[in-house]
Symmetry: C2
Subunit: 147 residues, 2 copies
């Protein structure tokens, strides 16, 4: 069993997608994260917790005390935090290892990439190739533990 066999269709967003729309997609389809494509190629993969990070005002991220005193109706805080920024404008500056695997990647390789990048979602693509599909942690566990 290789990544190509496990890859399943996965909804994608573009760099120009508003963050709030991307977050709604994630919530509506219970996705573990987002795949951002640029010309059909996986450009960024964001674990769900990192999408959340885009919505939390920066002054609250590392100061729980500050987050504690802000008790506005929650949707307001989030939606205002997100504003009309696009995914491209919200991405973290630092480049991390992208959780993308080759279609010939073994199950162990997929698992190692998920564990190392802390991403419950990996994209499947050939080097510089278009997105072929994605493998979620759920799907991987279901396959390797179903015995």
């Amino acid at each position: 069993m290789r990544a190509g066999d496990l890859a399943a269709p996965y909804p994608t967003v573009e760099l120009s997608t508003p963050v709030v729309e991307a977050a709604r997609l994630m919530a509506a389809e219970n996705l573990p994260g987002l795949i951002v494509v640029d010309n059909d190629r996986p450009s960024t993969i964001l674990p769900g917790t990192q999408v959340l990070r885009l919505a939390v005002p920066e002054y609250c991220q590392d100061d729980p005390a500050l987050a504690r005193v802000i008790d506005e109706p929650s949707a307001d805080v989030f939606l205002r935090g997100l504003g009309d920024r696009t995914v491209a404008e919200s991405l973290p500056r630092e480049q991390r290892e992208l959780p993308v695997v080759h279609p010939r990647a073994t199950v162990l390789e997929i698992a190692a990439v998920m564990a190392r990048t802390r991403s419950p979602l990996v994209a499947v693509a050939e080097h510089h190739g278009p997105l072929l599909g994605a493998i979620t942690l759920d799907a991987l566990l279901d396959r390797v533990l179903a015995s």
Copy 2:
């Protein structure tokens, strides 16, 4: 809306639970991670990707090339990797910030904890108190974006 209102029942494992059983629980119930309890108190919260890490042989974790050449039937690799170790025996040595919030925590505080600890799952408990429930990233997004 506070953490106490959002907390929902969540299956837990004990320190003495075999890792393979914990992984199966996660797969069967599509959980985003595991809550390990010790005397009813949340002792560790493991995001799904870190549970996966317990199952990936150490020599493969940081060397994709090694993982690439191992192409055994996947379940075998995992189950042998897990062996009959318990959760307690498999936990990472380093102590990280535990994603636990007080029942009075605001939505923003919950989101900040999830983002900072990269955990799609937070436990709700009073200081040194028993586990009251858990909040998943899915549930949080559903609540804050449902408007």
